[in-house]
């Protein structure tokens, strides 16, 4: 009986190691390909690449908050905006750009901690509403604080992150890549650490976690701040890359897009958010190309864009409600009997 059990266990772990090793090779492949790709892209594609890395950073943060700490946020775009304006304003005041970039995640994280204190008393859908409202409030503040932010006209003339010969889209590709790699590594280590395990417990049952000694309140606040800091970092790079910011660049739809990216790829998996960001970015670009074909009636591009995006969201969640990566992982581990 016992031998049977041992055999079964070793079979299962064998399968799991195999899936893990597939995962390892996949990560290596993605890493190498994403480092090698940028020089072969034209300038427009490099821009998309940069924006993709920024989406990865923001949606990994959201995935950390939602998948591991079980809190829903509809305000990740607001922290993205706050990071962008922090970096942009500081750099325009004459702060060295790298320092201004560093200030973006730090400042955003501190703001998140400050608003998290009252707001994290709310949970579930209440928190989703709170973050959505926060996004709208941030947009209004940015639009109304005209003397500081330039209001609806926007904030222009942000200096580049690095001096002249390095201020090319190619360099920003690697800045974005490095930031994304850092965030992925940090998140991976964070969720495997002791506080990370506490967080997972928190996601499944707050009461259970609290009674096992997890400091629920402080831990939630920390994750909320870290998740926001990620978005702030992405926003900071965005500010230097585009050198122009306006509230119109950070609509509510941006927060929703980060939510979609984190969910479609697979909640609770760091690489799920990466896959989700890649899929949604590619899809949106394809639709953009389709829409810019000459000779189409005026409203057709918009119709196609909304219809395909909407249908993909509905079908993806209908067919793969757990997200793409978790489904793939389960398929793989079933496909490989010993």
């Amino acid at each position: 009986m016992n031998a049977h059990l041992d055999q079964a266990t070793s079979k299962a772990t064998g399968r799991l190691t195999r899936v893990r090793s597939v995962g390892f090779w996949a990560v290596l492949l993605v890493g190498v390909a994403s480092v090698a790709a940028p020089p072969f892209l034209d300038e427009g594609q490099q821009t998309i690449y940069v924006l993709f890395t920024l989406s990865v950073i923001a949606s990994v943060g959201l995935s950390l908050l939602m998948g591991f700490a079980g809190q829903v946020s509809l305000g990740q775009g607001a922290f993205y905006a706050l990071g962008a304006y922090t970096a942009g304003l500081l750099a325009k005041q004459g702060a060295p750009p790298p320092l201004a970039l560093l200030a973006a995640p730090v400042g955003t994280g501190l703001i998140a901690a400050a608003i998290g204190l009252p707001v994290l008393r709310l949970r579930g859908h209440y928190l989703a509403f709170a973050t959505l409202a926060f996004h709208l409030i941030v947009l209004t503040v940015i639009a109304e604080a005209r003397p500081v932010t330039g209001g609806d006209l926007g904030l222009g003339g942000i200096p580049p992150l690095l001096p002249a010969p390095f201020a090319t889209p190619l360099v920003y590709c690697y800045v974005g890549w490095l930031a994304a790699a850092f965030v992925i590594l940090l998140t991976g280590n964070l969720v495997r650490s002791r506080p990370g395990r506490g967080l997972r417990a928190l996601a499944s049952s707050e009461v259970g976690a609290a009674s096992s000694g997890v400091a629920v309140g402080p831990d939630k606040l920390k994750v909320f701040a870290i998740s926001a800091a990620y978005a702030g970092l992405a926003g900071g790079i965005y500010a230097f890359f585009l050198s122009y910011l306006s509230p119109g660049s950070f609509p509510i739809l941006l927060s929703i897009q980060f939510l979609v990216m984190a969910t479609v790829g697979g909640m609770g998996l760091v690489w799920g958010a990466v896959a989700g960001a890649a899929i949604i970015t590619l899809l949106l670009q394809l639709l953009q190309i389709l829409a810019s074909q000459p000779g189409l009636p005026e409203t057709l591009p918009a119709i196609l864009n909304y219809a395909v995006y909407g249908l993909v969201l509905v079908l993806a969640m209908l067919l793969l409600p757990q997200g793409i990566l978790p489904t793939l992982r389960d398929r793989l581990s079933r496909r490989w009997p010993e």
Binding site: M66, V72, P118, V119, R121, L122, H125, Y126, A128, F129, A130, L132, A133, F134, L136, I137, L139, T140, V141, A143, E144, I252, L253, I256, L259, V260, T263, V264, M267, T299, A302, I303, L304, N305, Y306, A307, Y309, G310, L311, V312, L313, V314, M317, L318, P321, Q322
Partner: protein
């Protein structure tokens, strides 16, 4: 004093419209646990159908009823899609409702274009204590009052209403009692669609009608619904009215561009205060 009274009255009326949207959120969420972000889309579809029906020469009343029925039908289809085909986890369902919202955008731009349209509500004004109020606002309050009364009758005294309540309070036990919880959920979606449509017919004649008007309506409806914990329609009515009054007061006394942020902040502050008080009691 006149201005204050006028702002309060219009605020209450617009808040009633938000409350109708909120009841849609509440009924769908109570039975299915799905937060339906396509709720504003139901309202906008109803607005467009009203516009077309009026343009086709149908009289007022008939056009509006048609529009509400069309929104209920859209709600039914959405319900089948989201919970009828398989058990969807709530978060996946939420993303699906966002996808449905985009599909509705595509449909609306395809049929009605992307330029703002306008349709006539109830014209004319009447005087209350020296301030003139549009008849449309009185209509919104009257329809909302009638709807809430009907809903109270429906949930309190009809068999189907009690089935709804059973599914909301304990789906498992409801299934044991022979109730098809999934079908009730789909009916809830149709009901939510109709309520959203009603709000759209009433509110959208007061503003210009574009395909993306639904974002604003969804946010306001969600805000009012969350005031009632996505569970209690009467509290959602209070939330909607608070939201409407603050919007109008700020637009009247300060700047219209602040109205959204400040009114949402007020709702948020009340929610946090309530949560804090609850924690102290326990």
């Amino acid at each position: 004093m006149g201005l204050l009274l006028q702002l309060l009255l219009t605020g209450i009326a617009i808040g009633c419209g938000y409350a109708l949207l909120a009841t849609g959120f509440v009924f769908i969420h109570r039975v299915t646990r799905v937060v339906n972000f396509a709720q504003g889309g139901f309202a906008v579809i109803a607005g467009f159908v009203t516009y077309s029906a009026l343009a086709a020469g149908l009289p007022h009343g008939v056009s509006e009823v048609l529009a509400v029925l069309a929104a209920a039908l859209v709600g039914l289809v959405v319900g089948v899609l989201i919970i009828g085909l398989r058990d969807t986890p709530p978060l996946a369902a939420l993303i699906m409702t966002i996808g449905v919202g985009f599909c509705l955008w595509a449909l609306e731009v395809a049929v009605w274009g992307d330029q703002p349209l306008q349709f006539e509500g109830l014209g004319g004004v009447f005087a209350v204590a020296g301030v003139s109020i549009q008849y449309q606002y009185a209509l919104i309050v009257a329809v909302t009052a009638a709807t809430f009364a009907l809903l109270a009758l429906f949930f309190g005294h009809s068999y189907l209403g009690k089935v709804f309540t059973a599914c909301a309070s304990n789906p498992y036990a409801a299934r044991l009692a022979g109730i098809d919880v999934r079908r009730v959920g789909i009916i809830a979606f149709a009901l939510g669609g109709g309520l959203g449509g009603l709000a759209g017919v009433l509110l959208l004649s007061l503003r210009s009608l574009t395909f993306d008007s639904d974002v604003d309506l969804s946010i306001n409806g969600f805000a009012a619904a969350i005031f009632g914990g996505l569970q209690r329609p009467w509290l959602a009515l209070v939330g909607g009215v608070v939201l409407g009054i603050f919007e109008q007061l700020i637009a009247g006394y300060s700047r219209a561009s602040y109205q959204k942020a400040v009114s949402l902040f007020v709702i948020l502050a009340i929610l946090v205060w309530r949560a804090a008080r609850r924690r102290e009691q326990t």
